[in-house]
Symmetry: C2
């Protein structure tokens, strides 16, 4: 491995000077700097970031913990984070927890060992205590979609307002008369928010009685498919699914059994993942700005890293109702709003 020592020798100067030259610090004559730079280039010198980090106590690495990178929601957030940190020459250690709390803890430990400058945590299960190691190691933390602790920054999509808009649309515009809600795990923060918003909105509209029942299921395609016959027994004219994947499962069941969407059953989802606009009955849903959310998290983290006096802050992004065909009303396929599938 070729080090600054080697190139110092080649130039007949000391390592300190080489370091200054390479890092663009002042205090090196132009001629010398040029010489050093060209030699470094010539011999293919690669700076050892880690050795540098040892002394500056800045590794220029951050950690990103996600429940499952194959879930497009998290993938887009990751992309947003990456887009920011990349600009600053900061590396991103990706930790795919695979929805396991045990894995999360192991990754936290590992991130501490790597002395990352900060971490972005997307976890539905992590508790305040789990994040203690970061605090002790003076590693900045930004939480996403889950306000784990008061004294930590958190960026999130405002689930409450998104559901309010959606339910209001369903009741006042598409004239839903009886509704069923298909929920995921009741202990997940975002789910709680969404359910609360749903109930509050119905109440506000004086329509509490139209909510027939709330089902709690494994919130995936299969779960949506399989709960559908059950919920159909209640003969609702609409379903609000906790996320798009569940909604797609419900629509698939309907398609397979001759139930027309939206004529026989209106279906709404949440998230606006790519598939939402691609299925035969495009989904009315709520668009979350995932990419932007990742960017916001990254920016906040970098600010806290660069300015340790900075206070933690909460950022809330507002989602946007996307009316397509699955709840009725006009709809035409168009590709104008690219951002809907890419953010």
């Amino acid at each position: 491995m070729i080090s600054i020592k080697d190139i110092a020798q080649s130039c007949g100067v000391t390592p300190a000077t080489v370091s200054r030259a390479l890092n663009g610090q002042k205090g090196v004559s132009d001629a010398l700097r040029e010489k050093i730079l060209s030699i470094a280039e010539e011999v293919g010198y690669k700076k050892n970031q880690l050795a540098a980090g040892l002394i500056t106590s800045r590794t220029n690495m951050i950690g990103l913990l996600v429940p499952d990178i194959t879930n497009p929601y998290y993938a887009f957030i990751a992309k947003g984070v990456s887009s920011i940190v990349e600009q600053h020459g900061i590396g991103m250690l990706l930790c795919n927890a695979d929805r396991s709390a045990t894995n999360e803890l192991r990754f936290f430990q590992m991130l501490c060992n790597y002395k990352v400058d900060g971490v972005i945590i997307i976890s539905v299960t992590a508790k305040k205590e789990d994040l203690l190691p970061f605090k002790n190691s003076n590693i900045k933390v930004v939480c996403v979609d889950n306000p784990i602790s008061k004294d930590l920054s958190c960026v999130m999509n405002d689930n409450y307002s998104g559901v309010c808009d959606l339910i209001e649309h369903m009741v006042t515009v598409t004239k839903v008369k009886s509704l069923v809600v298909v929920m995921g795990y009741p202990d997940v923060y975002t789910n709680q928010q969404r359910l609360r918003a749903c109930k509050d909105t119905l109440e506000k509209l004086g329509s509490s009685e139209i909510l027939l029942k709330t089902f709690f299921i494994e919130p995936d395609y299969e779960g949506g498919y399989q709960v559908t016959p059950e919920l159909l027994k209640l003969e609702p004219d609409a379903v609000f699914a906790i996320n798009d994947t569940v909604a797609v499962g419900i629509i698939a069941y309907c398609h397979d059994h001759g139930i027309r969407v939206p004529e026989d059953l209106k279906v709404a989802g949440y998230d606006d993942i790519g598939i939402a606009s691609m299925i035969s009955v495009p989904l009315t849903t709520v668009h979350q700005r995932k990419f932007v959310l990742g960017q916001a998290a990254a920016r906040q983290l970098l600010q806290e890293i660069n300015d340790p006096t900075r206070e933690p802050s909460k950022v809330e992004l507002f989602p946007k109702l996307v009316v397509r065909a699955s709840c009725g009303e006009e709809f035409e396929r168009n590709f104008k709003s690219k951002d809907q599938s890419s953010t």
Copy 2:
């Protein structure tokens, strides 16, 4: 930051001994080791991997470069890689190149600076010369889906045999009489393979004349949707789309314009991404073992890192034809084969 020095002091021993104890090396009395371990635990000591790496010249980090982490194909590979390296306590620096060759080069530079032990490269554009920095830095490289250089390991899905199976199915089982192919970029290795396999198979079956035309498009949903009216002018009874996303776009156009799939037009895709089984006309496609591919790449890389004498090797995974509804033939939705969406 608390270091082995601190805990050495607490125990009245030297840092060397603490190091030995912590790393489970022999040459420390049981009593002492226990004491050291317990104190380390007590004071919340976190080993500095990077400082250790400086001397062992092993950082226990690898780099993973992907074109786009929001593409499920790459996300599943990333998950596979992660699942392996995680077990070995190795960190994964994720580099999302955003399909830009310039970005790729910057990431290569960066990974060299971080002195990663190895890299896994998924790139359709990278050339042999681009990877030279890794060679010079003695960083092991494994390529995925693109045999960039003879002297580098490469793991890939065998695109050729997958397309052969699919085309043979379409011609002999679903009795396709006229076919259109919708391709992506002609200079991408996997695309070339697929197109070649398609032509070879038709020839082998003595059906070369049924191939009406090959379209070259931007290989995404919108591209598929927009090319459909054009290809319909040729009145084919089947389309082979270069990937599932394109196929879904084609099917969406058909749905919007009263063209029945598969009755009026048979549609086949490639990749078997999650959406393939979720749309109203589930897609006949070829399943690629993405997760397993990532695992294979990671295993190969770790072996080369741990045993530098190991020769580079080529690994080819065989894909599997998945017959669903979009080309005709029997089909029933089922959830038995979970692995199809998760690998």
